[in-house]
């Protein structure tokens, strides 16, 4: 735990007393970290090498769970992988573009008005995802208000949750409604950190509109934007409550995702080993993507302004 050897904790305080003190402050957090994060992470990899039912005895099967996934023996695997990646790409791209647009837009408005709008955008962030998804199931139902609004302007009703392509789109739209507010608040804070004189100078230089945004504002905003990108991608890969409540993963398998499949394999199909293998696939994908983003940040993230 790193606390075994102590050099000096404070001037004039050394020895046994200070060791005890360090232990007392560090132990609660680090014991929890070890028991509830480090050990489960390692255990998850171990369990993924077993055939492990909820009750009954488990059996070591080596990499068989992984082989079953990648060999296509479980036809659902590549589907859930593709669904999750498609969702994550669509959701992250749309979220970043829209939230950056809205934050920049709000930046030019008087404080009180923009503040109220930011509060409104933030509300779905703190309401439980389960409730949010159920509200959208109500809205997007075949006889729901969205379709009756469409028919009142003479447009055809759409099977929002019952058509494979539309269902994925509905899930993205619902998730955008839920998640945009967080990035808007973060990006607004980033925009507020920009020195107004830099903007005035660029205006005098004749930079306007989009050119001003991409040449002046965005480079200064890039560290914040980078943070949003990393966190949004991670969040997107964990998508679970939306398909669980909105579509039950359907129609067919069209909105089934890694975490939904993880839950079903573990707790409906009684295959905890296979579910753990799915968890590790999720973990590796998220780690690789995060590492990739950090390694690429020098190309476009600008820390020196």
């Amino acid at each position: 735990m790193g606390a075994a050897t102590i050099t000096e904790s404070h001037r004039g305080h050394g020895g046994l007393g200070s060791r005890l003190r360090i232990f007392a402050y560090l132990a609660p957090g680090m014991t929890g970290f070890l028991i509830f994060i480090v050990i489960p992470l390692v255990a998850s990899l171990t369990i993924s090498l077993f055939s492990w039912p909820l009750l009954g005895t488990s059996e070591f099967v080596g990499i068989d769970n992984y082989r079953r996934m990648f060999s296509g023996e479980d036809p659902a695997f590549y589907t859930i992988l593709r669904n999750t990646v498609v969702f994550a790409l669509l959701y992250t791209a749309a979220n970043l573009i829209i939230s950056t647009g809205i934050s920049y837009w709000l930046q030019h408005l008087p404080n009180r008005f923009s503040r109220i709008l930011r509060i409104i955008f933030f509300i779905p962030v703190v309401t439980p995802m389960a409730g949010n998804a159920l509200i959208w199931r109500l809205l997007l139902n075949d006889d729901g208000v969205v379709n009756s609004a469409l028919s009142s302007i003479g447009a055809p009703s759409l099977p929002w949750l019952n058509n494979p392509k539309l269902a994925m789109g509905s899930m993205v739209i619902m998730s955008l409604w839920q998640g945009l507010g967080y990035n808007i608040v973060v990006l607004t804070a980033g925009l507020n950190g920009i020195n107004p004189s830099v903007l005035e100078a660029s205006e005098l230089d004749g930079a306007t509109g989009l050119r001003r945004f991409f040449q002046v504002v965005f480079p200064i905003l890039s560290p914040t934007f980078f943070f949003c990108t990393v966190m949004t991608v991670i969040g997107a890969f964990k998508v679970f409550a939306q398909p669980f409540f909105l579509t039950k993963g359907g129609p067919g398998e069209s909105t089934n995702t890694i975490v939904l499949a993880l839950y079903r394999n573990g707790f409906s199909f009684d295959k905890l080993g296979y579910a753990s293998a799915l968890a590790w696939v999720l973990f590796v994908i998220v780690m690789l993507l995060t590492a990739l983003q950090f390694s690429q940040q020098k190309r476009w993230v600008n820390y020196d302004s």
Binding site: I22, I37, L109, F122, G131, D143, A189, F227, G266
Partner: protein, 278 residues
């Protein structure tokens, strides 16, 4: 004159567009409330009308009849409050250790700890479930609260704050003979009220919204938290939309108050979380 005119027009367009977007953002909640007050048979058949043939307050009593909703809301309050208090305490102690105490490998350990900020909790649920099952703690408040109070976010955020405080106060108190606990309690905690509160609020919201873990570890309706309770309404026998929307309303409305009262703290927390991170 024409330039001013044009900027006024663009202002009007800007304001109306944004107002329209804001209304669209709030519409799902409005529709939720409206539907919770319609008889179930009219939730869909009444088309795009906000009001049903009568105000169906009985949806709310029906919701509490179908599930132990009062108990479920109390469970959520209990679990979220205890979880938040535990998270705040543990984070504060860790943050103090990682800033003001010196020990070998301190910074290495902290970086390792920080790395788990990007670890999806979903990866941990199966070993956690097996562990709690072995200990006979499935279906318990302990299982609902304990595993998710030890993330790095809280310690990280409070640490950022402590780093910005000058050492002088603490050194003066130390010269006067105050111990660590006294310094932490009387000097640091009053200064750290804001970040500790932010950690508490965020932790509360996380516990309040948590779904996957409660779904796995609880199968006793008397221990259900709100998201789990909502799941009970869409059973095999079809969805009872009126009572369900009543339940959703009751689960969503406390969050409105959180936003209203703590909006500036929440923004501060999000902002700090973003900026210390690089």
């Amino acid at each position: 004159m024409t330039l001013e005119h044009r900027s006024n027009i663009s202002k009007i367009i800007s304001y109306s567009l944004l107002t329209l977007i804001a209304v669209a953002f709030l519409f799902p909640f409005a529709w939720m409330l409206a539907s919770s007050l319609k008889p179930t048979s009219e939730v869909f058949s009444s088309g795009a009308s906000f009001t049903g043939s009568r105000l169906a307050w009985d949806n709310y009593t029906e919701a509490t009849r179908q599930t132990p909703l009062g108990r479920i809301i109390l469970n959520s309050i209990l679990v979220s409050t205890c979880g938040a208090l535990l998270t705040m305490t543990v984070s504060l102690l860790s943050a103090y250790a990682f800033t003001r105490l010196r020990f070998r490998f301190r910074d290495h350990l902290f970086i390792l700890f920080l790395g788990t900020l990007v670890l999806p909790q979903e990866v941990l649920v199966i070993p956690l479930y097996i562990g709690f099952q072995h200990l006979g703690l499935v279906n318990s408040y302990t299982a609902l609260i304990l595993p998710f109070a030890f993330g790095a976010f809280g310690a990280f955020l409070i640490r950022q704050f402590i780093l910005s405080l000058p050492l002088e106060f603490e050194e003066a108190a130390r010269i006067d003979g105050a111990g660590d606990l006294k310094i932490l309690w009387h000097i640091l905690i009053p200064l750290l009220k804001a970040p500790v509160l932010v950690v508490g609020v965020f932790s509360f919201i996380d516990y309040w919204s948590a779904f996957l873990w409660p779904l796995i570890v609880v199968n006793d309706a008397d221990l259900a938290t709100i998201p789990l309770g909502l799941q009970m309404f869409s059973g095999e026998r079809g969805t009872d939309w009126g009572p369900m929307m009543a339940a959703v309303s009751m689960s969503v409305i406390p969050s409105f108050f959180i936003v209203a009262f703590l909006q500036s703290q929440l923004e501060k927390g999000v902002t700090l979380g973003a900026f210390g991170g690089r």
